[in-house]
Every structure is written in C-alpha cells, then in structure tokens.
C-alpha cells in the first residue's frame, strides 16, 4: 500500500518533469518557427480576433466593476483618515500595478486560453494537425505560432483596457456618485502614478502573463490525448495551471520591480 503510494508519487514527479521539459522544447520550437506568423500577418490578425476581440466584453465589464468596487471600498477606508483626496491614487495604483495585469491575465486564461486548448486539442484529435504535416506544412508554424503571437499582442492591450475602464469606474463612483473633488482625484492620481515605474511595469507584467498563458494553453492542447476526456481534461488544466502561474509570476515580478521603491 505504502510502496504503491510512493511509486505513484515518483511516477507523477517524473511525469511532471518530463512534461516541463517537453513544454520548454515546445516553447523554443514556437519561437524558432515564428517567421510565418509575421510574414503572413493575416494569420495572426485572424487569431487576434478570436483571442483578443472576443475577450473584450468580459474584460471591459470586469474592469469597470472592479474599478467601481475599488472606488466604494477605497472611499470607505480613506475617509476614516480624512484622506478621500487619495482615492484616485489608490484606484489607479492598484489597477495599473496589480489588478489590471493580474485580473486581465486570469480572465484571459479562462476565456481565450481554454478556447485555444480546446481548438488545438480537437484539431489534433481529428487528425487535422497530422493532415497538415502530411501536406508538408509545419503545424507549429502554421497553427501554433500565429496563436501564440496573437495572445502575446492581445494580452497587454486587454490589460490596458481593463485598467483604463477600472480607473473610469473608480471615477464614476468616487467623483460622480460620492462627490470627491474631480480636480483632486485626477491631480493626486497623476502625482502618484509614474509612467516608468508603474505603467510600464504593468505593461511588462501583462506581456509576461500573455506569453505564459498562451504557451500553457497551446501546449496543453498540443499535448492532449486525442479523446473527448483528453481534450476536456487539458482545457481544465489550462485554466488551473495558467491561473496559478499568473499569480506566482506576479509575485516574482512585483518583488523584482518594486523592491527598490520603499
């Protein structure tokens, strides 16, 4: 019984390490076969429609609501210390530094990532990828790489839209609804939010998340067993793994970026 448990654990560990190695090789293969994705940019644009444009609604609505909640909660806390004027700063900094990239990354993983995995997994299960290979067309270059770059390009745009809508939501609640002074709201925000330190770092974060989520989604689809359970399992794994990876990467990146600040 115990022996079997240990054996299981060992097997799973080896399997995990093997998959990580395979995923790394897959990632390098994508980068090496990216020429097509740029030479025929139409392919990438097509995929940007599916990953970016179709994620817009959920990103915009979530961003607006998160910003509105931040406005309400932030005001509640700040007014106890008489610093309602810092509301703009609070809303903008939390969104631009953390919530924008992270929440957009999580939503992107569940909206676009799962779709990518299911699509690639089904293409593999129905032998479309094999068929392409038999036509002397590399599926990594033709199918995988355009999706990868579409994700990498879409993700920072989505995160920026999330943050922008969030700031707007905070403005709606803070200024329009509660009545914080409009001039103070914006000027305090501008004084505290730095382009390089805050906004640029947020963009870098979202690009990293885009790379991570898209790679995981593509890999899970490419590696999925060609059965119905295989594809559904891979889709679930995409959402779970990429969400965890986004959060873990966010911690690491934050530690690097904002360490020198305080």
């Amino acid at each position: 019984m115990l022996k079997q448990a240990i054996e299981n654990l060992g097997n799973r560990t080896i399997q995990g390490v093997w998959r990580i190695g395979f995923a790394a090789r897959f990632f390098v293969a994508i980068l090496l076969h990216s020429a097509t994705a740029f030479r025929r940019f139409g392919l990438t644009i097509r995929e940007m429609y599916f990953t970016g444009v179709l994620s817009l609604i959920i990103i915009l609505v979530s961003g607006l609501f998160v910003g509105m909640v931040l406005g309400l909660q932030g005001y509640e806390t700040l007014q106890r210390y008489g610093s309602e004027s810092a509301l703009g700063t609070l809303v903008a900094l939390s969104l631009v530094r953390e919530l924008g990239p992270v929440l957009a990354g999580l939503l992107f993983a569940s909206r676009a990532g799962s779709a990518i995995t299911a699509e690639i997994g089904l293409m593999k299960a129905t032998e479309q990828l094999s068929a392409m290979e038999m036509m002397a067309i590399d599926p990594i270059a033709r199918v995988v790489a355009p999706r990868f770059w579409a994700g990498v390009i879409s993700m920072p745009l989505l995160a920026a839209l999330f943050s922008a809508l969030g700031v707007f939501g905070g403005y709606l609640v803070g200024v329009r609804l509660i009545g914080v002074d409009e001039g103070t709201f914006w000027s305090q925000m501008q004084g505290a939010v730095d382009f390089e330190q805050d906004i640029l770092n947020g963009v870098i974060k979202s690009v990293v998340f885009g790379v991570a989520v898209t790679t995981i989604a593509l890999f899970e689809g490419y590696d999925a067993p060609p059965t119905a359970e295989g594809v559904s399992g891979a889709t679930t794994r995409t959402v779970v793994t990429s969400s965890l990876v986004v959060l873990a990467l966010d911690f690491v990146l934050t530690a690097f970026m904002f360490r020198g600040l305080n």
Binding site: Y49, Q190, G191, D194, F195, I199
Partner: protein
C-alpha cells in the same frame, strides 16, 4: 466570418487598446519621470534626510523640477549623499541651497531648491554646497521642551 469584417474588428481592438495605454500614460500617470537624456544630475550632502525616499519630487517655488534619483550613505563623512535628477529646461545658480521639506504636517518629504544669486549655473555632476537637513519631529519637540524649561529657569531667576 468575412475577412474584411474580421480585420475591422481587430483594428478597432488594437486602436482601443493603444488608446487605453495612452489614457493611462497621459491622464492617469505623469510623464514627469525625467529621462536621463533630457536631464542632469547634481549631488547634495545632508546630515539627516529624515524620511526622504528615491523618486521623491524636487521642487523649486512649489513647482516640480526633478526627482530624487539616488540616496546613499558616505562612510567617510558619515553623511547622506542624495543625487537629484533635474529637468534640463531648468537651470539653477551655483550657490543654490537644497533643503528637505515636508508637505503638510505628516505628508511626503521632498527636496526644495532655493536659488542663489551666482551667475554661474549648476552643471551635470556638480555639488550643491548649502544644504539644510530634514526636520525631525522628535528633535523639534525635544528642543521645544528644552527651550521651555530654560525659559522657566530664566523667569524664575529674574525676580531674585
């Protein structure tokens, strides 16, 4: 999905995304971080910088003219060496004085520049010679109490 309709949507998406980035850059944030290309650095020594932090604003007459780029400790003189990165558009005389101020009673600390009357201007890597340290609240209260006590003693002494 028709090819052109698809392109149109992606185009709208990209425009909206770039617009959001611009909104963040211009309206939410400030481009006030002076880049190294259009700025110059001067150094000032302080015996006590209080709670001054990197990136704190440098103001003259209340206007932000630069940022604190770096703070380090000089182990030879036992003083704080503060590097200020100033916007190239603003030039200050060589005998300008720097002092560490606090906005409001408990607000953030910043470096204030008080221009002197010299005709020679500060250049890159120059040193500001006249500095005034941060006011440490504990010292201030201590001095105040000490002063009150002295005053009391003096008043006691007068009638005698």
């Amino acid at each position: 999905m028709n090819r052109t309709v698809l392109d149109l949507w992606v185009g709208l998406f990209v425009i909206a995304g770039v617009g959001a980035l611009l909104f963040l850059a211009l309206k939410v944030g400030s481009m006030s971080t002076v880049n190294s290309t259009d700025s110059y650095e001067v150094v000032a020594d302080f015996q006590n910088i209080g709670g001054l932090k990197p990136r704190a604003p440098v103001k003259s007459a209340g206007v932000v003219v630069g940022r604190v780029a770096d703070i380090r400790f000089d182990n030879g003189k036992y003083e704080a060496v503060v590097t200020l990165r100033l916007d190239k558009r603003y030039a200050f005389p060589k005998d300008t004085s720097a002092s560490i101020m606090t906005s409001g009673l408990l607000g953030e600390q910043y470096v204030g520049l008080e221009p002197g009357g010299d005709s020679v201007m500060l250049k890159n890597k120059d040193r500001i010679l006249i500095t005034q340290d941060a006011v440490v609240l504990e010292n201030l209260i201590g001095q105040f109490l000490y002063g009150k006590a002295q005053e009391g003693k003096a008043q006691e002494g007068v009638p005698k």
